[in-house]
Symmetry: C2
Subunit: 118 residues, 2 copies
């Protein structure tokens, strides 16, 4: 079982980013890559998850699994995002029992999408 964690690296979290400064999305991506990558989780940068008003955002997906998008994240959430991604990767359908989800995943879900059929 495996999962892909897409991280929006262009996210400005709804704020202007001063010239030369690193976008909040890129900071979150860097913090995630610098953390302990959970087994089976691939971290992939992406330009825009179309959740700009709720940035920074990440998406979890995997073959045969429900996909989830979470928002209103910062680099300080990296450890919790990795823990949630690990729990997600370990499922067959993407549905982690509610109590085993990090609080940010319980409270900051933007959307979920059922798996593709057949």
């Amino acid at each position: 079982m495996a999962a892909t964690l897409h991280v929006c690296i262009t996210c400005k979290a709804g704020e202007p980013v001063p010239e030369g400064a690193v976008a909040p999305g890129a900071l979150l991506h860097a913090a995630l890559v610098a953390g302990d990558a959970p087994e089976g989780v691939r971290i992939v940068p992406v330009e825009c998850l179309s959740a700009c008003s709720q940035g920074c955002s990440v998406a979890l997906s995997g073959a045969g699994k429900w996909s989830y998008v979470y928002g209103r994240l910062t680099q300080d959430d990296a450890a919790d995002v990795l823990a949630g991604a690990a729990a997600y990767a370990a499922t067959s359908d993407g549905i982690v029992p509610w109590r085993e989800r990090p609080v940010i995943f319980r409270k900051q879900s933007l959307a979920r999408i059922p798996p593709l059929e057949g």
Copy 2:
């Protein structure tokens, strides 16, 4: 090429639904099913897309395509949703040129997720 249009039928659009009344999400689903189903688009009801604060919501997905979630919809948007779903189904990657998207798809995107790889 094809697409699945998932419609949240439990959505209450953030409002209490009086006993015996039909949930706004179910009304949207009914309006979509009653419309002219675009070629290649399968309409599938689903319980909760976890976008409850931005309901009613629908998701478009298809093999090899970006997935999209749209919110703040009502049954009056059914024709536009079907037109947008038709344009989506006709693409190979899910990315419809901006000007060819219905206005509700341009303005009410909640999130998008890259396609699964290989």
